[in-house]
């Protein structure tokens, strides 16, 4: 042994590193940098994702409108002169359209605006196809307006709205058959004249969907209502069933094959692809049980089955976290097992259960694939009725509406789809914040 020590070359100094140590330290630094880079990659991906959605979608919350004074001649709108609604309904949007175009050209003349190359078609195509329907609805709601002049703000065509938001430019308009540069010049002139303005678009969250031709009028009203109905059904069904299952498995289940089977089932259901639940819904709830397609009840049932594992797992964790001393104390003074659980353990586990339920609901709210299969892609313009009948009316859902809009040709729908995602994410943020707050406020440590 002493020989070995004697043969070792003298080490220069502890303060200068030898080549091997330097290499090892460099490897250490590299490894650490890889780790940091991976974390940063994840965060950058999140930021880019959110920036892309926000950048594309914020435009959906503003909309360009033109305020016009429209004459409503009785001779055209109410030939009988009786102001009878049934008779007036015979005047279709084709009658109202020219009135609005006339009002627009009158406004241009009044302000002394001259735009070169503005054709008649440019003029009639300047406003949204929805504007005639807007005016007609207003007149039918209040027949006394006929014969007078009304002031109303009308939606402009989606392309001109896009010009105001920077999506359409003069260059792109020259190649686009749906919009002409003259229309864009007119928009500029009208804006300087103060009749054309871009403002907050409340209709985006309240109005129903609109057809392929009029992206400027499309809204999320039906989809939000449909999603709300489904969440209600999911909450009503999955919370009691999930909590009951968890209590059974955690507190009562004997150690046998049947219990094992249930446990394995629950952990597997949590990992089954969501589209398979859609196939289940289609085969069982629609084809076998005969429930209506595209209805919130079917969507709610399918999402309930998907949410159950989340709630069961969360509830079991919450029940486990309650210390056994609570149970023992209750049993010790003569409570039955069920009394100990329902009177003492369950109330203490409630914050954990609520947190799990809200997280489960948030997952269900964003789920799209199963809803596609049960017919929720259908174009629905009518609001579903009040519950419980409304649960059986056709309706849409927020994530499915996003998907629907991505399938449309007009690029303005990309903005709508991103806007819808912002609405969806706002709901998710609210729900998750609520879950975190509940946990912070009520969580007890023993």
């Amino acid at each position: 042994m002493t020989d070995v020590i004697a043969e070792r070359p003298a080490k220069p100094s502890l303060l200068t590193l030898d080549a091997r140590t330097r290499r090892r330290n460099a490897a250490e630094a590299r490894f650490r940098a890889y780790g940091l880079a991976a974390v940063m990659a994840g965060i950058v991906a999140l930021v880019v994702l959110l920036a892309s959605v926000l950048g594309n979608g914020l435009g959906a919350f503003t909309q360009t409108r033109v305020t016009l004074q429209v004459e409503l001649p009785a001779a055209k709108l109410d030939k009988s002169g009786t102001r009878d609604i049934e008779v007036m309904k015979k005047a279709t949007t084709l009658t109202y359209g020219p009135l609005i175009t006339a009002a627009l050209s009158a406004a241009i003349k009044d302000r002394g605006i001259v735009v070169e190359g503005l054709s008649k078609k440019d003029l009639s195509g300047f406003l949204s196809k929805e504007s005639a329907a807007q005016l007609r609805d207003r007149v039918l709601a209040d027949p006394r307006l006929v014969g007078a002049a009304v002031t109303q703000s009308f939606l402009v065509n989606g392309r001109i709205d896009g010009y105001e938001k920077g999506r359409v430019t003069m260059q792109s308009a020259e190649k686009d058959s749906n919009v002409s540069p003259a229309q864009l010049h007119l928009a500029d002139a009208l804006e300087t004249a103060g009749i054309l303005h871009t403002g907050f678009n409340r209709d985006f969250v309240t109005a129903p969907d609109a057809s392929d031709q009029r992206p400027e009028a499309a809204g999320l009203g039906v989809a939000i209502l449909g999603s709300a109905y489904m969440m209600l059904i999911v909450l009503i069904l999955s919370l009691p069933i999930g909590v009951a299952t968890a209590i059974y498995l955690e507190e009562f289940a004997p150690q046998n094959r049947w219990t094992d089977l249930i446990e394995v089932n629950i952990s597997n259901l949590a990992a089954v692809p969501s589209i398979v639940f859609g196939i289940l819904g289609l085969a069982i709830f629609i084809n076998f049980a005969g429930l209506p397609q595209s209805a919130p009840i079917v969507g709610g049932l399918v999402l309930t089955l998907m949410t159950l594992p989340t709630i069961i797992i969360a509830t079991r964790a919450a029940l486990k976290a309650v210390p056994p001393s609570i149970r023992d104390a209750a049993l010790g003074i003569g409570a039955s097992k069920i009394q100990a659980i329902f009177h003492h353990v369950l109330p203490l586990a409630m914050p954990g259960i609520m947190t799990g339920a809200i997280i489960g609901l948030a997952q269900a709210l964003g789920e799209t694939a199963p809803l596609l299969l049960i017919g929720m892609v259908a174009f629905v313009r009518d609001y579903p009725g009040a519950p419980p009948e409304g649960f059986f009316d056709p309706s849409s859902a927020l994530p499915v509406q996003v998907f629907n809009w991505t399938q449309r040709a007009d690029p303005a729908f990309v903005e709508r789809a991103s806007g819808a995602i912002i609405v969806l994410l706002v709901f998710l943020v609210i729900m998750n914040t609520a879950a975190i707050l509940i946990r912070r406020r009520f969580e007890r440590r023993w």
Partner: protein, 483 residues
């Protein structure tokens, strides 16, 4: 009487039963609670349970069984001539007419007597048409007769159900009240009932799995009756054609699925793993408190958001800066687009699973390695990761199963063309995309082109289930190793 009303009445009876049971228990002992076996509330509860549970159970079963019985009876009424392949079509007509008549009566267009005494002339179609009930063909006398029979049978069934359910509820209350004595063990009865309900709730998980498997097996059998199974599993072309003569080979779809999943794993496994290692071994408390939730937000974002991200941002970016300059393709939706975005989606999944697993490696192993003079990275690479390897393999398998079953990202990002190709910038398609496209829109549940979706679904289910079971088994065995 409509079902919701019966439901509410039964609940009201149960509430009344609770009050009556409680009062009767108190009356039996003359107000001296000490002589009762259980608290008075339990006597009330047992009355409420006996009123509601059997009645609601019967009602549920009745609602499920009645349509089947009624339809089979009505189907018997349709003459042989109209039967055969079109029986289901005739039955649809019958149902339409019956619904139309119901609507006509409820809106007051027809009186109930008019609806039952209707004869099959040309006016029915027009009358129902006005109410928004469109009938395909003219209403034949047989269809009308069948529709009327359907209506009567349904009305009788509903009436009988109301009677049976209400009688059952009342009988339940009466029996419960009759049983009440001072020494009657109401609490034990109620608690046995509650335990039964809890057990019932826990079987729903099993029923769901059974429903998934049975519904897909049933329709898959129909599919394989019309289309040979070897052509499905080994066919290399996918070209469905609703006029018949389609090729429905699964191989191109499986190829697309696996290719996209592979790219997703290539992206997510290194990033997720390194992120987990950095978070658990290097990061300080403050950094972890910010970075960990930020990465977990990625897991909470719905997949439709990733799908849109692939469609409007990643797809065009890859096309304009990689695929076109390199001459590899001109399509925005491609394997690469879907794979990259799916990889981002899986990062938090891999990282949080690996995090758990790395944390489960005992500290003594690390301390031993560090004590021998290894650097931290050497400890991680040569001690921690090998010890955690089985668990990490499990996590990767779980991520793979997620990737295979993912739908919205590939629907929006991968394209619809079924191809066997190596170029990652080509649009390809997956099993899930084809399930969606074959089952949305107008579907005919007799055609193999629709039924193939169930066979695809079953394949997907078996594939993901296999991966999950394997992964869970590996992870569980690994956990036991260190406990």
């Amino acid at each position: 009487m409509p079902a919701p009303w019966i439901f509410l009445i039964v609940l009201a009876l149960a509430a009344a039963g609770y009050l009556a049971g409680r009062l009767r228990a108190l009356a039996v002992v003359g107000g001296d609670i000490r002589r009762l076996h259980s608290l008075p509330g339990y006597y009330g509860w047992q009355a409420a349970m006996l009123a509601a549970l059997p009645a609601l159970l019967v009602m549920g079963l009745w609602l499920l069984i009645q349509p089947v019985v009624v339809e089979s009876r009505v189907e018997g009424m349709i003459p042989e001539a109209a039967q055969g392949a079109s029986l289901s079509l005739v039955m649809t007509d019958v149902r339409r007419v019956a619904e139309g008549l119901d609507l006509a009566v409820s809106t007051g267009v027809m009186s109930a007597a008019e609806a039952t005494g209707l004869s099959a002339d040309g006016t029915i179609r027009a009358t129902l048409g006005k109410l928004g009930v469109a009938l395909g063909s003219g209403v034949t006398p047989e269809v009308l007769a069948a529709a009327k029979a359907l209506r009567t049978a349904e009305a009788t069934g509903r009436g009988a159900m109301a009677a049976v359910v209400l009688v059952l509820a009342l009988a339940g209350v009466a029996y419960a009240l009759w049983r009440i004595r001072a020494e009657y063990r109401a609490r034990n009865v109620v608690e046995a009932g509650v335990r039964g309900l809890l057990l019932l709730a826990s079987t729903i998980a099993i029923l769901t799995t059974a429903g998934i498997v049975l519904s897909m097996l049933f329709e898959t059998r129909h599919f394989f009756a019309q289309y040979p199974w070897w052509k499905f599993f080994f066919g290399a072309t996918w070209s469905p054609n609703f006029r018949g003569g389609s090729d429905l080979g699964i191989l191109p779809l499986l190829w697309g699925t696996l290719y996209i999943s592979f790219i997703a794993l290539v992206v997510s496994v290194p990033i997720g793993l390194f992120a987990a290692v950095y978070m658990s071994e290097y990061a300080g408390r403050k950094f972890r408190m910010v970075a960990k939730p930020a990465i977990e937000i990625l897991a909470g974002i719905p997949t439709i958001v990733y799908g849109l991200f692939a469609l409007i941002t990643v797809g065009p970016l890859l096309r304009d800066y990689f695929a076109q300059p390199l001459g590899l393709g001109a399509s925005g939706s491609s394997v690469m687009t879907a794979g990259l975005v799916m990889g981002v989606m899986l990062i938090p999944f891999v990282s949080s699973l690996s995090d758990d697993i790395i944390n489960a490696v005992p500290q003594s192993l690390r301390d031993g390695s560090l004590g021998l003079g290894a650097t931290r990275s050497e400890t991680i690479r040569q001690v921690v990761l090998p010890a955690a390897l089985p668990g990490i393999v499990g996590a990767v398998l779980l991520a793979a199963s997620r990737a295979i079953g993912e739908t919205m990202i590939v629907v929006l990002g991968a394209g619809a063309a079924a191809k066997l190709d190596l170029n990652p910038f080509e649009a390809m398609t997956t099993v899930t995309v084809k399930i969606v496209s074959q089952l949305t829109g107008d579907t005919d549940f007799a055609a193999p082109e629709t039924l193939v979706a169930f066979a695809l679904g079953l394949t997907l289910f078996v594939l993901t289930l296999g991966l999950n079971v394997l992964a869970l088994w590996i992870v569980r065995r690994y956990r036991e190793q260190y406990e």
